[in-house]
Amino acid sequence: MSKPKMNAMERLYLPEIFKGLAITSRHFFINLGLHSLHKLGLAKAREAMVTISYPEVRRPYPLVARSRHRLTQRQDGTAKCVACMMCATACPAECIYIEAEEHPDPLIEKRPASFDIDMSKCVFCGFCVEACPEDAIRMDTGHFEMAYFDRKDLIYDMNFLLNDDPYAIKKEDALVLASDKK
Protein backbone atom coordinates (compact mmCIF):
# COMPACT_ATOMS: atom_id res chain seq x y z
CA MET A 1 0.00 0.00 0.00
CA SER A 2 1.34 3.41 -0.90
CA LYS A 3 1.42 6.08 1.75
CA PRO A 4 -0.71 9.17 1.10
CA LYS A 5 1.41 12.18 0.20
CA MET A 6 1.45 14.89 2.85
CA ASN A 7 1.82 18.55 2.07
CA ALA A 8 4.24 20.86 3.85
CA MET A 9 1.79 21.90 6.57
CA GLU A 10 0.96 18.29 7.36
CA ARG A 11 4.63 17.32 7.47
CA LEU A 12 5.21 20.05 10.07
CA TYR A 13 2.97 17.89 12.26
CA LEU A 14 2.21 20.52 14.90
CA PRO A 15 -0.59 22.38 13.01
CA GLU A 16 -2.39 19.07 12.48
CA ILE A 17 -2.01 18.21 16.17
CA PHE A 18 -3.48 21.57 17.14
CA LYS A 19 -6.40 20.90 14.78
CA GLY A 20 -7.04 17.59 16.52
CA LEU A 21 -6.75 19.12 19.96
CA ALA A 22 -9.18 21.85 18.90
CA ILE A 23 -11.76 19.24 17.90
CA THR A 24 -11.47 17.27 21.13
CA SER A 25 -11.45 20.34 23.36
CA ARG A 26 -14.48 21.72 21.47
CA HIS A 27 -16.34 18.52 22.28
CA PHE A 28 -15.17 18.79 25.87
CA PHE A 29 -16.35 22.36 26.43
CA ILE A 30 -19.66 21.97 24.57
CA ASN A 31 -20.51 18.78 26.48
CA LEU A 32 -19.37 20.24 29.81
CA GLY A 33 -21.57 23.29 29.21
CA LEU A 34 -24.53 21.10 28.29
CA HIS A 35 -24.03 18.92 31.38
CA SER A 36 -23.99 22.05 33.55
CA LEU A 37 -27.12 23.42 31.84
CA HIS A 38 -28.88 20.08 32.35
CA LYS A 39 -28.09 20.24 36.07
CA LEU A 40 -29.84 23.63 36.12
CA GLY A 41 -32.77 22.16 34.19
CA LEU A 42 -32.02 24.03 30.95
CA ALA A 43 -31.48 22.89 27.36
CA LYS A 44 -32.82 19.41 28.11
CA ALA A 45 -33.63 18.89 24.45
CA ARG A 46 -29.96 18.77 23.47
CA GLU A 47 -28.14 15.63 24.53
CA ALA A 48 -24.64 15.97 25.98
CA MET A 49 -23.81 12.30 25.39
CA VAL A 50 -24.81 9.34 23.28
CA THR A 51 -24.66 6.81 26.11
CA ILE A 52 -27.82 4.90 27.03
CA SER A 53 -27.77 4.00 30.75
CA TYR A 54 -28.70 0.42 29.88
CA PRO A 55 -30.48 -1.32 32.74
CA GLU A 56 -32.49 1.78 33.61
CA VAL A 57 -33.00 3.04 30.07
CA ARG A 58 -33.53 0.72 27.13
CA ARG A 59 -33.06 1.59 23.52
CA PRO A 60 -36.31 0.99 21.60
CA TYR A 61 -35.93 -2.16 19.53
CA PRO A 62 -37.35 -2.31 16.01
CA LEU A 63 -40.56 -4.36 15.70
CA VAL A 64 -38.85 -6.84 13.39
CA ALA A 65 -36.12 -7.64 15.95
CA ARG A 66 -36.15 -11.34 16.85
CA SER A 67 -36.32 -11.78 20.60
CA ARG A 68 -37.45 -14.53 22.99
CA HIS A 69 -40.25 -16.81 21.71
CA ARG A 70 -43.80 -16.88 22.90
CA LEU A 71 -46.76 -19.10 22.01
CA THR A 72 -49.92 -17.33 20.95
CA GLN A 73 -53.25 -18.17 22.54
CA ARG A 74 -56.76 -18.92 21.36
CA GLN A 75 -59.55 -16.81 22.79
CA ASP A 76 -60.08 -19.39 25.53
CA GLY A 77 -56.42 -19.14 26.60
CA THR A 78 -55.17 -22.46 25.26
CA ALA A 79 -52.25 -22.68 22.83
CA LYS A 80 -52.88 -22.09 19.15
CA CYS A 81 -50.24 -24.70 18.39
CA VAL A 82 -51.49 -27.85 16.68
CA ALA A 83 -48.28 -29.84 17.29
CA CYS A 84 -47.54 -30.26 13.58
CA MET A 85 -43.76 -30.35 14.31
CA MET A 86 -43.01 -27.91 11.45
CA CYS A 87 -41.02 -25.62 13.74
CA ALA A 88 -39.08 -28.49 15.33
CA THR A 89 -38.24 -29.76 11.84
CA ALA A 90 -37.18 -26.35 10.57
CA CYS A 91 -35.05 -25.60 13.62
CA PRO A 92 -31.35 -25.78 12.65
CA ALA A 93 -30.30 -25.88 16.31
CA GLU A 94 -32.80 -28.61 17.17
CA CYS A 95 -33.84 -26.83 20.33
CA ILE A 96 -37.63 -27.33 20.15
CA TYR A 97 -39.11 -30.40 21.82
CA ILE A 98 -42.84 -31.07 21.30
CA GLU A 99 -45.00 -33.91 22.59
CA ALA A 100 -48.39 -34.14 20.88
CA GLU A 101 -51.74 -35.35 22.20
CA GLU A 102 -55.31 -35.45 20.91
CA HIS A 103 -57.33 -32.27 21.09
CA PRO A 104 -60.76 -32.60 22.74
CA ASP A 105 -62.30 -30.48 19.99
CA PRO A 106 -63.01 -32.85 17.04
CA LEU A 107 -62.39 -29.99 14.56
CA ILE A 108 -58.79 -29.68 15.70
CA GLU A 109 -56.60 -32.68 15.25
CA LYS A 110 -53.77 -32.31 17.80
CA ARG A 111 -52.42 -30.08 20.55
CA PRO A 112 -49.07 -30.06 22.34
CA ALA A 113 -48.89 -31.92 25.64
CA SER A 114 -45.55 -30.26 26.26
CA PHE A 115 -43.67 -27.63 24.27
CA ASP A 116 -40.10 -26.94 25.45
CA ILE A 117 -37.55 -24.60 23.90
CA ASP A 118 -33.93 -24.95 25.04
CA MET A 119 -32.64 -21.38 24.98
CA SER A 120 -29.05 -22.50 25.49
CA LYS A 121 -29.20 -24.02 21.99
CA CYS A 122 -31.43 -21.50 20.19
CA VAL A 123 -29.65 -19.41 17.56
CA PHE A 124 -32.48 -16.87 17.11
CA CYS A 125 -32.75 -17.53 13.37
CA GLY A 126 -36.54 -17.21 13.35
CA PHE A 127 -37.09 -20.25 11.09
CA CYS A 128 -39.67 -21.64 13.54
CA VAL A 129 -41.77 -18.50 13.15
CA GLU A 130 -41.48 -18.73 9.35
CA ALA A 131 -42.41 -22.41 9.36
CA CYS A 132 -45.49 -22.18 11.58
CA PRO A 133 -48.71 -22.55 9.55
CA GLU A 134 -50.91 -21.49 12.48
CA ASP A 135 -49.09 -18.28 13.62
CA ALA A 136 -48.71 -20.08 16.95
CA ILE A 137 -45.09 -19.15 17.68
CA ARG A 138 -43.72 -15.64 17.55
CA MET A 139 -40.45 -13.93 18.46
CA ASP A 140 -41.73 -10.50 19.42
CA THR A 141 -41.53 -10.32 23.23
CA GLY A 142 -38.61 -7.88 23.29
CA HIS A 143 -36.80 -9.95 25.94
CA PHE A 144 -33.11 -10.40 25.29
CA GLU A 145 -31.62 -10.85 28.72
CA MET A 146 -31.62 -14.56 29.47
CA ALA A 147 -28.95 -15.18 32.07
CA TYR A 148 -29.34 -17.85 34.75
CA PHE A 149 -27.21 -19.63 37.28
CA ASP A 150 -28.48 -23.04 36.15
CA ARG A 151 -28.77 -24.45 32.63
CA LYS A 152 -32.10 -26.04 33.52
CA ASP A 153 -33.61 -22.58 33.86
CA LEU A 154 -32.84 -21.93 30.19
CA ILE A 155 -35.36 -24.59 29.11
CA TYR A 156 -38.69 -22.80 28.81
CA ASP A 157 -41.82 -24.91 29.09
CA MET A 158 -45.21 -24.36 27.44
CA ASN A 159 -46.75 -22.68 30.47
CA PHE A 160 -44.02 -20.06 30.48
CA LEU A 161 -44.07 -19.51 26.71
CA LEU A 162 -47.84 -19.09 26.68
CA ASN A 163 -47.85 -16.46 29.40
CA ASP A 164 -44.68 -14.55 28.54
CA ASP A 165 -45.25 -10.87 29.11
CA PRO A 166 -43.94 -8.81 26.26
CA TYR A 167 -42.76 -5.32 27.12
CA ALA A 168 -41.20 -4.16 23.89
CA ILE A 169 -44.40 -4.49 21.90
CA LYS A 170 -47.60 -2.80 22.94
CA LYS A 171 -50.09 -5.34 24.25
CA GLU A 172 -52.94 -4.36 21.95
CA ASP A 173 -50.66 -4.75 18.90
CA ALA A 174 -48.99 -7.98 19.86
CA LEU A 175 -51.41 -10.14 21.72
CA VAL A 176 -54.44 -9.85 19.48
CA LEU A 177 -53.93 -12.16 16.56
CA ALA A 178 -55.05 -11.33 13.06
CA SER A 179 -57.47 -14.26 13.06
CA ASP A 180 -58.99 -13.16 16.37
CA LYS A 181 -59.65 -9.64 15.17
CA LYS A 182 -62.58 -10.61 13.00
Binding site: L14, L21, T24, S25, H27, F28, N31, M49, T51, S53
Partner: protein
Protein backbone atom coordinates in the same frame (compact mmCIF):
# COMPACT_ATOMS: atom_id res chain seq x y z
CA UNK B 1 -3.74 36.97 68.45
CA UNK B 2 -0.31 38.52 68.81
CA UNK B 3 2.31 36.36 67.12
CA UNK B 4 5.30 38.34 68.39
CA UNK B 5 4.83 36.91 71.89
CA UNK B 6 5.31 33.31 70.68
CA UNK B 7 8.81 31.93 70.57
CA UNK B 8 9.84 32.11 66.87
CA UNK B 9 11.14 28.53 66.99
CA UNK B 10 7.59 27.24 67.55
CA UNK B 11 6.33 29.19 64.59
CA UNK B 12 9.14 27.73 62.48
CA UNK B 13 8.32 24.17 63.52
CA UNK B 14 4.57 24.65 63.06
CA UNK B 15 5.21 26.23 59.67
CA UNK B 16 7.36 23.32 58.52
CA UNK B 17 4.83 20.76 59.69
CA UNK B 18 2.01 22.64 57.98
CA UNK B 19 3.95 22.86 54.72
CA UNK B 20 4.85 19.16 54.69
CA UNK B 21 1.27 18.17 55.54
CA UNK B 22 -0.09 20.39 52.79
CA UNK B 23 2.26 19.13 50.08
CA UNK B 24 1.89 15.48 51.08
CA UNK B 25 -1.90 15.64 51.12
CA UNK B 26 -1.94 17.37 47.73
CA UNK B 27 0.50 14.91 46.17
CA UNK B 28 -1.04 11.76 47.66
CA UNK B 29 -4.59 12.68 46.66
CA UNK B 30 -3.47 13.86 43.22
CA UNK B 31 -3.23 10.23 42.08
CA UNK B 32 -6.86 9.68 43.01
CA UNK B 33 -8.10 13.00 41.68
CA UNK B 34 -6.19 12.76 38.41
CA UNK B 35 -7.48 9.26 37.70
CA UNK B 36 -10.98 10.62 38.22
CA UNK B 37 -10.18 13.55 35.92
CA UNK B 38 -8.81 11.14 33.36
CA UNK B 39 -11.97 9.04 33.38
CA UNK B 40 -14.41 11.91 33.35
CA UNK B 41 -12.54 14.17 30.95
CA UNK B 42 -12.06 11.42 28.40
CA UNK B 43 -15.75 10.53 28.73
CA UNK B 44 -16.93 14.10 28.21
CA UNK B 45 -14.55 14.57 25.28
CA UNK B 46 -15.92 11.43 23.62
CA UNK B 47 -19.62 12.21 24.27
CA UNK B 48 -19.87 9.54 26.97
CA UNK B 49 -20.97 9.63 30.63
CA UNK B 50 -17.92 8.07 32.24
CA UNK B 51 -17.64 6.37 35.58
CA UNK B 52 -20.93 6.74 37.44
CA UNK B 53 -21.84 3.31 38.82
CA UNK B 54 -19.91 2.95 42.07
CA UNK B 55 -21.82 4.65 44.85
CA UNK B 56 -22.10 4.86 48.59
CA UNK B 57 -25.39 3.07 49.27
CA UNK B 58 -27.37 3.49 52.44
CA UNK B 59 -29.19 0.19 52.93
CA UNK B 60 -32.97 -0.07 53.51
CA UNK B 61 -33.47 3.58 52.54
CA UNK B 62 -32.34 3.01 48.97
CA UNK B 63 -30.22 6.15 48.86
CA UNK B 64 -27.29 6.14 46.45
CA UNK B 65 -24.50 8.73 46.40
CA UNK B 66 -22.36 8.23 43.29
CA UNK B 67 -20.67 11.65 43.83
CA UNK B 68 -19.97 12.15 40.11
CA UNK B 69 -17.89 8.99 39.89
CA UNK B 70 -15.45 9.92 42.66
CA UNK B 71 -16.35 6.74 44.54
CA UNK B 72 -14.75 4.69 41.73
CA UNK B 73 -11.33 5.75 42.97
CA UNK B 74 -12.11 4.46 46.46
CA UNK B 75 -13.33 1.23 44.90
CA UNK B 76 -10.07 1.01 42.94
CA UNK B 77 -8.03 1.49 46.09
CA UNK B 78 -10.07 -1.15 47.92
CA UNK B 79 -9.57 -3.54 45.00
CA UNK B 80 -5.84 -2.88 44.99
CA UNK B 81 -5.55 -3.63 48.69
CA UNK B 82 -7.56 -6.85 48.77
CA UNK B 83 -6.22 -8.28 45.50
CA UNK B 84 -3.65 -11.07 45.57
CA UNK B 85 -0.15 -9.65 45.83
CA UNK B 86 1.59 -11.97 43.39
CA UNK B 87 5.38 -12.31 43.25
CA UNK B 88 6.69 -14.61 40.48
CA UNK B 89 8.38 -17.68 42.07
CA UNK B 90 11.80 -17.05 40.53
CA UNK B 91 11.73 -13.27 40.94
CA UNK B 92 13.94 -11.46 43.42
CA UNK B 93 11.37 -10.83 46.12
CA UNK B 94 13.14 -7.91 47.79
CA UNK B 95 13.75 -5.94 44.59
CA UNK B 96 10.31 -6.87 43.27
CA UNK B 97 8.74 -5.17 46.27
CA UNK B 98 11.21 -2.29 46.28
CA UNK B 99 10.74 -1.25 42.62
CA UNK B 100 7.29 0.40 42.85
CA UNK B 101 8.40 2.30 45.94
CA UNK B 102 11.48 3.56 44.08
CA UNK B 103 9.32 4.82 41.22
CA UNK B 104 6.88 6.49 43.61
CA UNK B 105 9.54 7.89 45.93
CA UNK B 106 11.45 9.73 43.23
CA UNK B 107 8.35 11.47 41.94
CA UNK B 108 7.11 12.37 45.43
CA UNK B 109 10.40 13.58 46.88
CA UNK B 110 10.86 16.10 44.07
CA UNK B 111 8.00 18.14 45.53
CA UNK B 112 10.24 19.14 48.44
CA UNK B 113 11.87 21.92 46.42
CA UNK B 114 8.77 23.10 44.53
CA UNK B 115 7.31 26.31 45.97
CA UNK B 116 3.53 26.63 46.10
CA UNK B 117 3.38 30.33 46.91
CA UNK B 118 5.48 33.34 47.83
CA UNK B 119 6.36 33.81 51.45
CA UNK B 120 4.29 34.64 54.50
CA UNK B 121 5.32 36.65 57.52
CA UNK B 122 3.97 35.53 60.88
CA UNK B 123 5.16 37.78 63.67
CA UNK B 124 8.87 38.25 63.05
CA UNK B 125 9.26 34.94 61.24
CA UNK B 126 9.32 34.85 57.44
CA UNK B 127 8.24 31.46 56.12
CA UNK B 128 8.88 30.74 52.45
CA UNK B 129 6.12 28.51 51.06
CA UNK B 130 8.50 25.73 50.03
CA UNK B 131 9.37 22.70 52.13
CA UNK B 132 13.05 23.01 51.28
CA UNK B 133 14.06 26.30 49.59
CA UNK B 134 17.09 25.31 47.55
CA UNK B 135 19.68 27.12 45.43
CA UNK B 136 19.71 24.18 43.01
CA UNK B 137 16.00 23.27 42.98
CA UNK B 138 15.88 22.60 39.22
CA UNK B 139 18.87 20.27 39.43
CA UNK B 140 17.30 18.48 42.41
CA UNK B 141 14.11 17.78 40.46
CA UNK B 142 16.03 16.47 37.45
CA UNK B 143 18.29 14.33 39.62
CA UNK B 144 15.28 12.68 41.27
CA UNK B 145 13.63 12.10 37.90
CA UNK B 146 16.76 10.23 36.79
CA UNK B 147 16.45 8.05 39.90
CA UNK B 148 12.82 7.37 38.97
CA UNK B 149 14.05 5.39 35.95
CA UNK B 150 15.66 2.86 38.29
CA UNK B 151 12.27 1.85 39.67
CA UNK B 152 11.14 1.03 36.13
CA UNK B 153 14.34 -0.82 35.17
CA UNK B 154 14.42 -2.84 38.39
CA UNK B 155 10.72 -3.70 38.06
CA UNK B 156 11.24 -5.12 34.57
CA UNK B 157 14.54 -6.83 35.34
CA UNK B 158 13.63 -8.74 38.51
CA UNK B 159 10.21 -9.91 37.27
CA UNK B 160 11.67 -13.08 35.72
CA UNK B 161 9.82 -12.34 32.50
CA UNK B 162 11.49 -11.66 29.15
CA UNK B 163 8.76 -9.32 28.03
CA UNK B 164 8.91 -7.28 31.21
CA UNK B 165 12.67 -6.95 30.77
CA UNK B 166 12.21 -5.80 27.20
CA UNK B 167 9.55 -3.33 28.35
CA UNK B 168 11.96 -2.01 30.94
CA UNK B 169 14.64 -1.64 28.26
CA UNK B 170 12.22 0.30 26.08
CA UNK B 171 11.26 2.46 29.05
CA UNK B 172 14.82 3.22 30.10
CA UNK B 173 15.93 3.97 26.54
CA UNK B 174 12.99 6.33 26.05
CA UNK B 175 13.29 8.12 29.38
CA UNK B 176 17.06 8.48 29.28
CA UNK B 177 17.03 9.73 25.66
CA UNK B 178 14.48 12.35 26.52
CA UNK B 179 16.31 13.43 29.66
CA UNK B 180 18.85 14.95 27.28
CA UNK B 181 16.10 16.82 25.44
CA UNK B 182 14.34 17.84 28.67
CA UNK B 183 17.52 19.28 30.14
CA UNK B 184 18.53 21.14 26.99
CA UNK B 185 15.10 22.65 26.30
CA UNK B 186 14.97 24.17 29.75
CA UNK B 187 18.52 25.56 29.52
CA UNK B 188 17.41 28.49 27.37
CA UNK B 189 15.01 29.63 30.07
CA UNK B 190 17.56 29.03 32.83
CA UNK B 191 20.12 31.07 30.88
CA UNK B 192 17.67 33.96 30.93
CA UNK B 193 16.90 33.65 34.62
CA UNK B 194 20.59 33.09 35.55
CA UNK B 195 19.58 30.91 38.51
CA UNK B 196 18.50 27.37 39.40
CA UNK B 197 16.43 28.48 42.39
CA UNK B 198 12.68 28.12 41.71
CA UNK B 199 11.83 31.09 43.96
CA UNK B 200 14.28 33.38 42.13
CA UNK B 201 13.00 32.11 38.77
CA UNK B 202 9.47 33.12 39.71
CA UNK B 203 10.70 36.44 41.09
CA UNK B 204 12.56 37.17 37.84
CA UNK B 205 9.42 36.54 35.82
CA UNK B 206 7.51 38.99 38.01
CA UNK B 207 10.06 41.81 37.85
CA UNK B 208 10.77 41.62 34.11
CA UNK B 209 8.58 42.06 31.05
CA UNK B 210 8.76 40.55 27.59
CA UNK B 211 9.10 43.12 24.78
CA UNK B 212 7.85 45.78 27.18
CA UNK B 213 4.15 44.84 27.22
CA UNK B 214 3.81 41.11 27.87
CA UNK B 215 4.44 39.62 31.33
CA UNK B 216 7.93 38.24 31.83
CA UNK B 217 6.65 34.68 31.88
CA UNK B 218 8.87 32.08 30.29
CA UNK B 219 6.20 31.08 27.78
CA UNK B 220 6.41 34.54 26.19
CA UNK B 221 10.18 34.90 25.87
CA UNK B 222 10.87 31.15 25.39
CA UNK B 223 7.89 29.88 23.34
CA UNK B 224 9.95 27.22 21.54
CA UNK B 225 11.52 26.15 24.81
CA UNK B 226 8.07 25.77 26.35
CA UNK B 227 6.73 23.70 23.46
CA UNK B 228 9.75 21.40 23.46
CA UNK B 229 9.77 21.04 27.24
CA UNK B 230 6.05 20.24 27.31
CA UNK B 231 6.48 17.48 24.72
CA UNK B 232 9.60 16.16 26.46
CA UNK B 233 7.77 15.96 29.79
CA UNK B 234 4.94 14.04 28.12
CA UNK B 235 7.54 11.49 27.04
CA UNK B 236 9.20 11.47 30.46
CA UNK B 237 6.00 10.58 32.26
CA UNK B 238 5.43 7.67 29.85
CA UNK B 239 1.83 8.47 28.97
CA UNK B 240 -0.02 8.30 25.67
CA UNK B 241 1.02 9.24 22.96
CA UNK B 242 4.44 8.11 24.25
CA UNK B 243 3.39 5.14 26.38
CA UNK B 244 5.60 2.60 24.65
CA UNK B 245 7.06 1.31 27.95
CA UNK B 246 3.57 0.43 29.13
CA UNK B 247 1.36 0.14 26.01
CA UNK B 248 -1.36 -1.59 27.98
CA UNK B 249 -3.40 -2.54 24.93
CA UNK B 250 -0.82 -4.25 22.70
CA UNK B 251 2.77 -4.88 23.72
CA UNK B 252 3.74 -6.01 27.17
CA UNK B 253 5.21 -3.46 29.51
CA UNK B 254 7.57 -3.51 32.45
CA UNK B 255 4.95 -4.03 35.16
CA UNK B 256 3.33 -7.13 33.69
CA UNK B 257 4.23 -9.20 36.74
CA UNK B 258 2.79 -6.72 39.19
CA UNK B 259 -0.68 -6.88 40.67
CA UNK B 260 -2.75 -5.22 43.34
CA UNK B 261 -1.45 -2.20 45.18
CA UNK B 262 2.09 -2.54 43.80
CA UNK B 263 0.76 -2.16 40.27
CA UNK B 264 -1.31 0.80 41.40
CA UNK B 265 1.82 2.41 42.87
CA UNK B 266 3.29 2.51 39.35
CA UNK B 267 0.10 4.12 38.08
CA UNK B 268 0.20 6.58 40.96
CA UNK B 269 3.84 7.41 40.22
CA UNK B 270 2.73 8.29 36.69
CA UNK B 271 -0.02 10.58 37.93
CA UNK B 272 2.27 12.20 40.52
CA UNK B 273 4.82 12.79 37.76
CA UNK B 274 2.16 14.43 35.63
CA UNK B 275 1.36 16.78 38.53
CA UNK B 276 5.07 17.35 39.11
CA UNK B 277 5.73 18.34 35.51
CA UNK B 278 2.68 20.60 35.42
CA UNK B 279 4.03 22.26 38.57
CA UNK B 280 7.55 22.68 37.15
CA UNK B 281 6.18 24.10 33.88
CA UNK B 282 4.06 26.60 35.81
CA UNK B 283 7.08 27.68 37.86
CA UNK B 284 9.46 28.05 34.93
CA UNK B 285 7.19 29.11 32.07
CA UNK B 286 4.02 30.56 33.58
CA UNK B 287 5.29 32.85 36.32
CA UNK B 288 4.49 30.55 39.24
CA UNK B 289 2.12 32.22 41.68
CA UNK B 290 2.37 35.62 40.00
CA UNK B 291 -0.51 37.43 38.37
CA UNK B 292 0.36 40.35 36.07
CA UNK B 293 0.39 43.59 38.05
CA UNK B 294 -0.27 42.01 41.45
CA UNK B 295 2.37 43.16 43.91
CA UNK B 296 2.89 41.88 47.43
CA UNK B 297 1.87 44.55 49.97
CA UNK B 298 3.78 45.05 53.21
CA UNK B 299 2.42 43.32 56.30
CA UNK B 300 -0.77 45.17 57.29
CA UNK B 301 -0.78 47.26 54.09
CA UNK B 302 -2.98 46.97 51.03
CA UNK B 303 -2.41 46.89 47.30
CA UNK B 304 -4.62 47.76 44.35
CA UNK B 305 -5.12 45.14 41.67
CA UNK B 306 -7.63 45.61 38.87
CA UNK B 307 -10.69 46.99 40.66
CA UNK B 308 -9.94 45.38 44.04
CA UNK B 309 -8.11 46.60 47.10
CA UNK B 310 -6.42 43.59 48.67
CA UNK B 311 -4.85 43.07 52.07
CA UNK B 312 -1.75 40.99 52.83
CA UNK B 313 -3.43 37.62 53.43
CA UNK B 314 -5.86 38.14 50.57
CA UNK B 315 -2.91 38.54 48.21
CA UNK B 316 -1.25 35.41 49.62
CA UNK B 317 -4.42 33.38 49.11
CA UNK B 318 -4.99 34.85 45.64
CA UNK B 319 -1.47 33.94 44.60
CA UNK B 320 -1.82 30.37 45.81
CA UNK B 321 -5.16 30.07 43.99
CA UNK B 322 -3.59 31.44 40.82
CA UNK B 323 -0.80 28.88 41.09
CA UNK B 324 -3.27 26.03 41.63
CA UNK B 325 -5.41 27.16 38.68
CA UNK B 326 -2.40 27.26 36.38
CA UNK B 327 -1.41 23.75 37.46
CA UNK B 328 -4.97 22.48 36.92
CA UNK B 329 -5.06 23.98 33.42
CA UNK B 330 -1.76 22.31 32.53
CA UNK B 331 -2.94 18.95 33.89
CA UNK B 332 -6.06 19.38 31.77
CA UNK B 333 -3.87 20.05 28.72
CA UNK B 334 -1.84 16.89 29.41
CA UNK B 335 -5.05 14.85 29.61
CA UNK B 336 -6.34 16.49 26.42
CA UNK B 337 -3.20 15.45 24.55
CA UNK B 338 -3.37 11.99 26.10
CA UNK B 339 -6.92 11.40 24.85
CA UNK B 340 -6.52 13.03 21.43
CA UNK B 341 -3.37 11.66 19.85
CA UNK B 342 -2.57 8.12 18.72
CA UNK B 343 0.54 6.38 19.97
CA UNK B 344 3.91 6.93 18.30
CA UNK B 345 5.91 4.06 16.90
CA UNK B 346 9.12 3.37 18.83
CA UNK B 347 11.46 4.51 16.05
CA UNK B 348 9.33 7.64 15.64
CA UNK B 349 9.84 8.49 19.32
CA UNK B 350 13.61 8.09 18.98
CA UNK B 351 13.59 10.06 15.71
CA UNK B 352 11.63 12.86 17.38
CA UNK B 353 13.91 12.90 20.38
CA UNK B 354 17.35 12.75 18.81
CA UNK B 355 16.86 14.24 15.34
CA UNK B 356 14.23 16.92 15.91
CA UNK B 357 14.01 17.97 19.55
CA UNK B 358 17.72 17.85 20.32
CA UNK B 359 18.81 20.10 17.38
CA UNK B 360 15.88 22.46 18.04
CA UNK B 361 16.76 22.66 21.73
CA UNK B 362 20.41 23.34 20.89
CA UNK B 363 19.42 26.03 18.39
CA UNK B 364 17.13 27.57 21.00
CA UNK B 365 19.99 27.54 23.50
CA UNK B 366 22.47 29.14 21.08
CA UNK B 367 20.04 31.87 20.01
CA UNK B 368 19.15 32.62 23.64
CA UNK B 369 22.82 32.84 24.57
CA UNK B 370 23.59 35.22 21.69
CA UNK B 371 20.60 37.42 22.58
CA UNK B 372 21.64 37.44 26.23
CA UNK B 373 25.18 38.56 25.37
CA UNK B 374 23.91 41.15 22.90
CA UNK B 375 21.53 42.64 25.50
CA UNK B 376 24.36 43.05 27.97
Amino acid sequence: MNFSEINPIFIQIAGHLAKVTFIMSVVMTSGLILSWVERKQSAIMQDRIGANRAAIVIPFLGWRFPLWGLIHNLADALKGIVKEDFVPPKANKFLHILAPFMACFAATAAFAVLPFGGQVQIGQVVIPLTIMPSQVGVLFVFALLSIGVYGVVVAGYVSDNKYSTMGALRASAQVISYEVATGLTILGALLTYETLDFRKIVEWQHTHTTLGFLPGWGVFHQPLGFMLFFVATLVEMKRVPFDLPEAESEIIGYFTEYSGMKFMLFMMAEFIESLLFAWVIVLIFFGGWNLPGLNMPAQGGTTNWMWMQLGYWQVVMLQMTAMASKIVILCWLQMLVRWSLPRFRYDQIMHLGWKIMLPLALANLVVTAIVQVALK
